[in-house]
Symmetry: C2
Subunit: 152 residues, 2 copies
Amino acid sequence: MKLTTKGRYGLRAVIDLAMYAKTEPVSLSDVAERQNISISYLEQLIAKLKKAGIVQSTRGAQGGYSLAKEPEEVSVGEILRVLEGSLSPVDCSAVDGEGETECSASNFCVTKYVWKRINDSINDTVNNMFLSELLEESEKVKSDAIKVEPGC
Amino acid sequence: MKLTTKGRYGLRAVIDLAMYAKTEPVSLSDVAERQNISISYLEQLIAKLKKAGIVQSTRGAQGGYSLAKEPEEVSVGEILRVLEGSLSPVDCSAVDGEGETECSASNFCVTKYVWKRINDSINDTVNNMFLSELLEESEKVKSDAIKVEPGC
DNA sequence: ATTAAATCGCAGTAAATTACTAGGAAATAA
DNA sequence: TTATTTCCTAGTAATTTACTGCGATTTAAT
């Protein structure tokens, strides 16, 4: 039940763009340095975000990336799903929403009920958190930032 | 963000015990056959559940396992945490509740806010689902059980 | 007393996934 | 023309997952 570095780093990169690419695009090397993430790894993550229409790029020197939408239009769920795939705790079409398959033993189906409830609660949370909210939140905590936690 | 087979199989095993070990303990080979899980793998999972006080065992022939508590006293969260470790989407003490560390860059801390909200919503859900509820639910759906989904 | 059925415990291992790195092509501002 | 940047694909070491195997111990039934 862990997010990978794709989701963790990718979300940080998007937040970084939201904060620093307001007027001009910022280069990945800037983001990479600020966020302490390798450039070539970031390139792979940002490629997915671009393909999904979350960020946009301008090529060539002095180019870089910026958000493709307003911060209030980009949900955390959208970002994480692009980077991690489905956030469902199991790969089961009946849980993810596609298809209406049932399982063979009765308690298989009961677990499906469990997975669906977990899935729904995760989605409710991430689909209703928008970048704009995170930017506001970052204003609040900016002052008392002290120590890096490895997992964050 | 996926549960492993430990959590998936283990929960199924506990539900199986709740359904079939009401008067006498049931052997792991019975559980394994009903749930289509290898015995030796199940042994490892059940060992954790026993250590955590969720199931109890009687050794020797005609022995087996049964629940150590009433179904209304065992939450899905308890079971999954024993098998999977923390359900937090990141390993960050500030998210898991231990310690009050802050992160170095301001947007590191914003992601912490995100992880905490996801963590809370998962925990709210699983800590408030009890085995008793699942048993009731399994009565409902028992009749129209048809097909096995690989991920379930 | 012996046997068969079970739990218990630990070690090993193939396959998959993760978290990167490497190298180079193409575009563009200066 | 050159430096800076995005873009694209492939490879790979380390870790994790999902098991299997073996053997010891306990105990009910014969």
